[in-house]
């Protein structure tokens, strides 16, 4: 192990230790926010997987909703345990993601963005339309918080630790994907699609794979959310929520694994601080989104990379490559 690896490992241990003592130090309200934060953490990291190939979608929150609705159906009708609903929801979201991406793959960049918006809306409208199954515009209620053995996840602290474990597992897998050959393949497709094709990469296959992997993890986030909130409704997964996910990614950046996480942390803080300005909040975050896209298109991670480059001159830093810039 090199020195940076040791620093990184120490940092990770520190963060995990902090995460383990946190629920005993904070107020109940803050703990609820931390639980939602862990769910969002899975969501925001899963968004980056298809984004690595250059496919920014507008259907990701809807796919999270697919996970949430699957969980709602499985746990209210079949009474399945949370240990089963979460993986099953992820599988359903992953398979549905693979199906919906097939027509979308015909498009690239901006066209993909729009097509995913429309197809996501199609999925969302099925929940509104089929009232008997999905509860229509009001959604579904009475989803159990779940229990593991004799531990009731209704209580915030056990729920928090359950989410922490799931989030840790998901993030570890996603990190491994990022560093693996498949992850490099995804990035190769983004960097130069024709070259990738020329060296024998089956581009449509890998794009579909990236998308389905992303929706798989979004399904996990959705399942956890449904169990925590106890209710799902179509409005919660609409384009407005999607814009907030975009804001996390844009603020943090998407060139490295850590960018979206940084964005989520910063925006979650900003979100809580602006609680008194409730009705003005969309305006502030809309302004934030424009500010970052116009003045700092690489997000905060590019700022960090720039600072690091200045401190350690001569270091070759690939993080400075433009993120979120899957152009035409």
């Amino acid at each position: 192990m090199t020195r940076t690896n040791w620093t990184f490992a120490a940092f990770l241990v520190l963060v995990l230790a902090g995460a383990c003592v946190a629920p005993f130090l904070v107020k109940p309200y803050t703990l609820e926010i931390l639980i939602i934060f862990l769910i969002n953490l899975i969501l925001v990291c899963s968004y980056r997987i298809p984004a690595m190939t250059g496919d920014w979608s507008l259907s990701h929150v809807v796919m999270m909703g697919v996970g949430a609705y699957t969980t709602a159906l499985l746990s209210t009708h079949l009474d399945l345990s949370i240990l089963l609903t979460v993986p099953l929801s992820a599988i359903v979201a992953g398979i549905l993601g693979y199906i919906i991406v097939l027509p979308m793959i015909r498009t690239r960049g901006f066209g993909f963005f729009i097509a995913s918006f429309a197809i996501g809306e199609f999925v969302r409208l099925t929940w509104v339309k089929f009232r008997d199954v999905f509860g229509g515009p009001r959604g579904m209620i009475g989803i159990p918080n779940g229990e593991i053995g004799s531990i009731d996840l209704f209580f915030a602290t056990p729920s928090y630790f359950f989410m922490l474990v799931i989030a840790f597992i998901c993030l570890t897998i996603m990190y491994r994907i990022d560093k693996s050959r498949i992850g490099s393949t995804f990035v190769a497709i983004y960097k130069d699609e024709e070259l990738a094709e020329a060296v024998g990469i089956n581009v449509p296959h890998y794009r579909a794979l990236a998308f389905a992997t992303g929706t798989f993890f979004a399904g996990i986030a959705g399942a956890l959310l449904a169990h925590r909130l106890g209710a799902v409704d179509p409005k919660g997964f609409d384009i407005n929520t999607m814009v907030y996910l975009i804001i996390w990614i844009v603020v943090g950046g998407s060139a490295t694994f850590w960018g979206p996480i940084v964005g989520l942390i910063v925006v979650t803080f900003a979100f809580e601080w602006t609680r008194p300005l409730l009705e003005w909040r969309p305006l502030l975050f809309g302004g934030l989104l424009i500010f970052f896209l116009v003045f700092l298109p690489g997000g905060l991670e590019s700022l960090l990379a720039k600072i690091r480059q200045r401190l350690v001159p001569g270091q070759n830093d690939d993080a400075a490559a433009s993120p979120g810039t899957a152009g035409e």
């Binding site: 027509p103 979308m104 901006f110 097509a115 809309g286 116009v294 152009g327």
Partner: protein, 289 residues
């Protein structure tokens, strides 16, 4: 469906198709010139409707004056969007698009905070009564939409094909580099394209204000339809946008009559998915060389 309902639905489809055409042409045009994809186009529509609400509903100006007011107001908004969002993000289509999603949030909050969020603003119908066509009755307010849309689209066609600035705009859409070599100011052209795009959205919103519930969030439903139309028509093709708008106008209206609005929206999306699979470049789009 009996023949009277059929005729009625047919007439309603033409009204819907005309309004979709005016909205989608604006979107396609901005995209054609320097790839400006405006997510706030639905909010431009909303601002147009609010201009009529304020000028006609609150201040009591004559309705046609209020409608004409909406054109410069929203055109100006378009110009500002070009200058402060699209120009700095020109090399990246997605960035401009996402930034205008931010603009959509800003406009919704501003309008909502000034004129209220909860209740919808009702704009009194200026032209009462209905046109009677052998048993089919269409409110005058709806009839008015059709000639207004045709006049606007005809004016746009005349401008693009006969005015010097219009020709320059088309040149810029075809090949910005070469256009610049001919002495065409690209910045001025993108500004002009956004002004026209905004004017069209504003006009559509203004015409719809007495028919459509006026709320800060009315742009939401519009933007999805507009994007379906533009993708089906072939992104940059104005003729394609008009064709797809009329098609979708018929599809939406007939499915709404036979079933419900949610199903109509779903069928519209499904049509778009089919077009994407069979003909990814859109109905009248050209395959890029």
């Amino acid at each position: 469906m009996d023949s009277a309902t059929l005729l009625q639905t047919f007439a309603n489809s033409i009204v819907a198709g005309s309004i979709y055409a005016v909205i989608a042409v604006g979107l396609a045009m901005a995209f054609g010139v320097m790839k400006m994809a405006n997510f706030a186009h639905g909010e431009f529509f909303m601002v147009g409707a609010y201009t009529v609400y304020v000028c006609y509903g609150l201040m009591g100006w004559p309705f046609p004056v209020a409608v004409l007011m909406a054109i410069p107001v929203v055109a100006l908004l378009g110009v500002a969007t070009e200058r402060f969002i699209f120009r700095p993000t020109r090399e990246n289509v997605l960035a401009g698009f996402m930034a205008t999603a931010g603009l959509a949030l800003i406009l919704q909050v501003l309008i909502g905070q000034i004129w209220g969020v909860g209740l919808m603003r009702s704009v009194p119908t200026p032209y009462m009564g209905a046109l009677d066509l052998g048993g089919v009755r269409i409110g005058w307010q709806r009839v008015l939409v059709i000639p207004s849309a045709i006049a606007m689209l005809f004016a746009l066609w005349y401008f693009l094909y006969h005015a010097k600035a219009g020709k320059a705009l088309r040149a810029c859409a075809q090949d910005p580099e070469t256009a610049r070599l001919q002495g065409i100011n690209i910045n001025r052209m993108t500004m002009l394209a956004m002004a026209i795009s905004g004017a069209l959205a504003g006009l559509a919103g203004a015409l719809m204000a007495p028919i459509h519930p006026v709320t800060p969030y009315m742009g939401h439903g519009i933007i999805l339809t507009a994007f379906i139309v533009v993708v089906m028509g072939g992104m940059e093709s104005i003729a394609g946008a008009i064709l797809a708008a009329v098609l979708l106008g018929f599809i939406h209206t007939f499915v709404t009559t036979l079933s419900d609005a949610v199903t109509a929206q779903m069928v519209g999306v499904a049509c778009m998915a089919v077009v994407l699979i069979v003909r990814p470049q859109g109905l009248l789009g050209r395959v890029k060389a």
